[in-house]
């Protein structure tokens, strides 16, 4: 396959940045998108040019590091798939592919396609955990949890924190991420103890980081590589209201 790439290049946070066009020949349709980027970078290195910076780690769709906005959509055209699991067979020979970084003021560009997502870490630090005294883990079946609740908590916990929801949202809202993290704990008895405090602190931190507000377009759910449901956002709204009113 012959591919034309229009890639956002930006030296650092202070640089203005611009698109650069690259031609790549002999791209295998079986390559993942990141492997194709590797091929491009090797070519750039051979030509003594600066390789394109992009985030990646596990390359098996579970770490949440990869973060490219491909042809107007986070993680590219497929549903429920991270960039690393996207393959070149999803494109056609001769295609021009535009690759941009996540755009959100709360995700400043570090370099090229890599953005700083530590705002998510700060939201987690604000309350996305269960405080426990250290010691032996107790017998697993001491606390009985209905299967349905466990399933909902698990599907919320599938969030890998990649930020595609923020990237997809026209308001750069982080509510799908925050609501998944609120929900995975709020649904379980261990998490209920700190539920009120958690939702208030996490939402306050989310607002402080400068994410936008949810207007329920549900673009986040459609683009989430882990198919996190917007039901979680409604749950977070409920939890927040409950926490504020009681």
């Amino acid at each position: 396959m012959n591919i034309t790439l229009k890639i956002w290049r930006q030296k650092n946070g202070n640089d203005k940045g611009s698109f650069q066009t690259y031609q790549l020949a002999d791209v295998s349709p079986d390559m993942s998108f990141l492997e194709m980027m590797d091929v491009l970078n090797e070519k750039l290195i051979r030509n003594s040019e600066d390789p394109v910076a992009f985030d990646h780690d596990c390359r098996e769709g579970i770490c949440g590091m990869c973060s490219m906005y491909i042809n107007g959509r986070p993680h590219g055209p497929l549903r429920g798939v991270t960039t690393c699991q996207l393959h070149m067979r999803s494109f056609k020979d001769g295609d021009t592919i535009t690759v941009e970084p996540w755009r959100a003021d709360a995700f400043p560009v570090i370099k090229d396609l890599a953005v700083d997502r530590s705002s998510f870490d700060r939201i987690m630090s604000a309350g996305g955990f269960v405080s426990v005294n250290t010691g032996n883990a107790q017998e697993a079946n001491n606390i009985l949890i209905p299967k349905e609740d466990a399933d909902m908590a698990f599907s919320a916990a599938a969030c890998i924190g990649c930020g595609a929801c923020v990237a997809a949202c026209k308001n750069a809202s982080a509510m799908l991420f925050v609501s998944a993290k609120v929900s995975q704990l709020a649904l379980l008895p261990q998490g209920r103890v700190e539920a009120k405090e958690r939702v208030m602190k996490m939402v306050a931190q989310m607002d402080e980081e400068g994410f936008g507000n949810c207007t329920n377009t549900y673009a986040c759910e459609a683009e989430c590589p882990k198919l996190i449901s917007v039901e979680n956002i409604a749950r977070m709204n409920r939890e927040y209201l409950k926490a504020q009113l009681t």
Binding site: W8, D105, G210, G212, N216, Y218, V230, R235, N237
Partner: protein, 229 residues
């Protein structure tokens, strides 16, 4: 955290949009039902009586003030939210694939709302200011020995102009799309999302968004075309 804080946090502002939105929807139900009485086609007698009741009942009069407050609050919150949302992404994307992940009208609520506001100002100027302050062009009408404001006559005067019919129809199309997103969105913002009820809310919302604006749009059309008189 204090109660006032609720409505300044992100989720609180959504809540305010949802509550005012649903309140405005409830107003649409009342307004549409009363006005649909013109289709009784009795020369506006039933409608004029109903309009008189609405204009004189103290509860309705009080609710009118609440209604204006609701509209203003809805608009102010939307402006604040829009501003915040724009600030959250100061550098936009070069390529947008938004049509693949969301409905266009869910992304253009601000524009649709602005169109509705323009319609609303024209509409208030047509009927409300006359009925409340300056007096109706159509004057009054005698029904069973009682004098009533001739709201139906005013409708006939206003809707005899072709451009008004077009503007009202466009206003109702904007309203339909605004409601298609807004109806179900309000419930989501209030935290109501349930496997059993949400599909029903979405269906009802869709029907409501089509039927109510359609009934409204039929009014100027029916008067203009002379289907009722």
């Amino acid at each position: 955290m204090s109660l006032t804080k609720i409505f300044t946090a992100s989720i609180g502002r959504k809540l305010a949009m949802g509550i005012t939105g649903l309140f405005l929807i409830s107003f649409l139900v009342v307004h549409c039902s009363i006005n649909a009485l013109i289709f009784v086609n009795d020369g506006g007698e039933t409608f004029n009586r109903a309009a008189h009741f609405m204009a004189t009942n103290p509860v309705i009069r009080t609710m009118e003030i609440v209604l204006f407050a609701g509209i203003i609050w809805h608009i102010i919150q939307s402006l604040i939210l829009t501003r915040m949302n724009q600030k959250a992404r100061s550098i936009g994307y070069a390529v947008s694939g938004a049509d693949a992940n969301s409905k266009w009208y869910s992304r253009w609520m601000g524009l649709l709302g602005t169109l509705i506001l323009i319609f609303l100002i024209i509409h208030l100027r047509h009927f409300w200011t006359g009925a409340r302050f300056t007096g109706l062009e159509s004057g009054t009408v005698l029904i069973d020995g009682h004098e009533y404001d001739d709201m139906f006559g005013e409708m006939k005067i206003v809707f005899s102009q072709g451009w008004v019919v077009i503007v009202y129809t466009l206003g109702m199309i904007s309203l339909a799309y605004h409601l298609m997103h807004g109806f179900q969105s309000a419930f989501q913002s209030l935290g109501i999302n349930h496997k059993k009820y949400t599909p029903a809310i979405k269906t009802i919302g869709m029907l409501f968004s089509l039927i109510v604006p359609l009934v409204f749009a039929m009014m100027p059309m029916a008067v203009y075309m002379g289907w009722i008189g």
